[in-house]
């Protein structure tokens, strides 16, 4: 079969010693950034984007993918052992994981998290292998109007639906779109907002924005507002699950994979929703509901962790087949592809088949590597948690410098980096989401080009978005995504009112 041939080829490419080494280094760095507070996969990939200048695409994409899902494995270690809520994706793991660790079962929690991540990641990779080519085959039939509306859908979910406030989400999206405007217009070749500065012709650097918003802002925020916070760490116990714990983890892993995977495929912004859904499901189905929130229920760790990994792996489907990123990290991965002049999308499976299949094969390999890195070697990562905050954040600033300076060799970029960092502090303090900025900046120019191409097809009439069945359907979905949550809130409010 064609599929298996492609996958086999992928394994042959990904299995060369040098590519295996890149995968291993990626998984190791990924686990480390997952474990360390103050730096996540998006930041780490952004800081390392300069390697796209020298390293060949297959190797660097394998490397970046390793960081991406490695961070998910590492994140659970921190959320189980430290008593501070970490990233959104692992926040739910912390709920029960922390309780388990406090009652002396940290080892079992870590084991179910790592093995669950492996199970979910591997199943999700199989699904990506099977479905991505199908989606790509279908996506090739889509035209500019459909692509434009898919991108609008991504914008809407990232900014208006997820997060606390639609208004602040839209503001963040507007900031991102505005940043994306800087540079040469893709269609007319006209320079916009460059102020005659030649460096701005190519647009603002993704590294600069991402590292500024995440790393520098994080450091500045920590020094300003979190200096007095002290973290306490739970005691480790041996990483081992009893037969009973295995029996309780299995169904949770599988259910969570089924919940997480579809959420990763659609532009619903990463893993917050599926992890919460999985937690809720496990709590409802558990035969030991009294353990939830008290001594810690193992299902409450197994489920969300697996859901997280399934969703993260599935985000590769929209990224690779449609070229649409649905989270911070996938947006930056798209930036990495663009640095090579590769545009992810349905043609990717034809034009860059070797690259795509090597990347998919590396996911299988990476999951095995991560299981080994995170189970027997977990003690090593726990030591990272002992690094005190001052040198940790100061060290992150060094890596921020190397990422930004390495990309364009401009000292002025470092001043800009500081300014973006200040913007990030303000945004975080007043709870503006950052994902819409990054997604808007990277996807904005692509969406604009699709929109103008679509209008050219329609000879300048906006009706083109309504005349084609798929695009009309997408338009309805976009409207539903925007209107339904509001309608439901209104309905709930009315019911509450009439009940009172």
């Amino acid at each position: 079969m064609d599929l298996w041939n492609n996958l086999l080829q992928g394994f042959l490419t990904a299995g060369t010693p040098i590519n295996l080494l890149w995968a291993l280094v990626g998984c190791t760095i990924g686990t480390a950034v997952g474990v360390l507070p103050g730096i996540g996969p998006a930041t780490a990939v952004a800081m390392l984007l300069p390697i796209t200048l020298k390293v060949e695409p297959t190797a660097s994409m394998i490397f970046f993918a390793g960081i991406y899902y490695g961070a998910m494995y590492g994140g659970s270690t921190t959320s189980i052992l430290l008593n501070t809520p970490g990233e959104a994706g692992s926040m739910v793991t912390a709920l029960e994981g922390n309780k388990m660790a406090k009652s002396g079962r940290a080892g079992a929690a870590l084991a179910t998290a790592a093995i669950g991540s492996f199970v979910a990641g591997t199943i999700a990779t199989v699904l990506v292998t099977l479905f991505a080519p199908l989606v790509a085959e279908y996506a090739i039939k889509l035209g500019p109007p459909e692509y434009f509306l898919l991108m609008v859908l991504a914008f809407c979910t990232v900014s208006a639906v997820l997060g606390q406030s639609t208004l602040r989400g839209l503001t963040a999206l507007g900031i991102g779109l505005a940043m994306g405007l800087v540079g040469i217009d893709q269609i007319s070749g006209q320079a916009r907002y460059t102020g005659g500065v030649p460096e701005l012709m190519d647009g603002l650097e993704v590294v600069l924005i991402a590292v500024g918003l995440f790393a520098v802002a994080e450091a500045l925020y920590a020094v300003l507002y979190q200096g007095k916070e002290s973290e306490t760490q739970n005691k480790m116990s041996s990483v081992h699950m009893t037969r009973e714990e295995w029996r309780r983890s299995w169904p949770a892993w599988l259910r969570a994979t089924a919940i997480g995977f579809p959420f990763g495929c659609i532009p619903a912004g990463g893993s917050e929703i599926p992890t919460f859904l999985s937690y809720g499901t496990e709590k409802k189905l558990s035969k030991h509901p009294q353990e939830f929130g008290t001594v810690g229920a193992i299902e409450g760790v197994a489920g969300p962790e697996a859901a997280n990994n399934a969703a993260i792996t599935a985000t590769l489907i929209p990224l690779l087949t449609l070229g649409i990123p649905t989270s911070n990290t996938t947006a930056i991965l798209l930036g990495a592809f663009q640095n090579y002049g590769i545009q992810p999308g349905p043609q990717l499976f034809d034009k860059n088949a070797a690259l795509v299949w090597a990347l998919i094969a590396s996911l299988y390999i990476g999951n095995v590597m991560l299981l080994i890195l995170n189970l027997p070697l977990v003690g090593l990562w726990v030591k990272l948690l002992k690094i005190p905050k001052p040198p940790l954040y100061a060290g992150i600033l060094i890596f921020a410098t190397v990422g930004v300076y390495g990309m364009r060799q401009s000292a002025f970029d470092l001043v800009l980096l500081y300014a973006i960092g200040l913007l990030g502090v303000v945004m975080r303090r007043f709870s503006f989401p950052t994902a819409p900025v990054v997604v808007g900046m990277i996807l904005g120019p692509l969406a604009e080009a699709q929109m103008r191409n679509a209008l050219s097809i329609g000879e300048g009439h906006w009706g083109v978005f309504l005349q084609r069945p798929v695009s009309a359907l997408l338009l309805v979905v976009v409207l539903a995504v925007l209107v339904l949550p509001r309608l439901m809130a209104w309905w709930k409010g009315r019911r509450a009112l009439s009940a009172a």
Binding site: V55, L181, I187, R192, Q226, K228, V402, Y405, V415
Partner: protein, 166 residues
Amino acid sequence: MRAVPTQALIGAGVMLGAAGLAFGAVGISSDAGYAGVGPNFLPWLVAGLLGLCGLFLLRQALTGGFRPMDEAEGAEHGHWPGFVWVSAGLLANAALITSAGFILSCALCFVLAVRGFRAAEDRLDLGLKAWLVDALVGMAISAPVYWMFTKALAISLPGLTQTGWL
């Protein structure tokens, strides 16, 4: 209802940014070709979006504050001395990196930033020994990074000397 000054300032800032975008959009051609909309369409759209967002943010700020909104993470008041230390580190790095080279400039940034974080923890130590130790740690981080990027990946970073080692 109470107005929240910083939030009002943010709303006004967003509106100012929108005005800037609109000002820039005036100079962009509207030549549309077959598309009906030209290169100036999205700039105007984004300017409009941000203008509206700014207006609504300003209104919320003046009528009791942004909502819905949880309590911001961390302390109520910022630790500004620590902030100044870290800012000084970052800006000194920007000023010195081309002349002092990556390793030394980043080590200086590290030392200053560590001072800031220690100050925020109320454990600021300005003794000579602490400076020296931090400088050494900073170099122990920045030097391998420098060598890895310049030697292994052939990505150019500025050095103090032409030797490629410092």
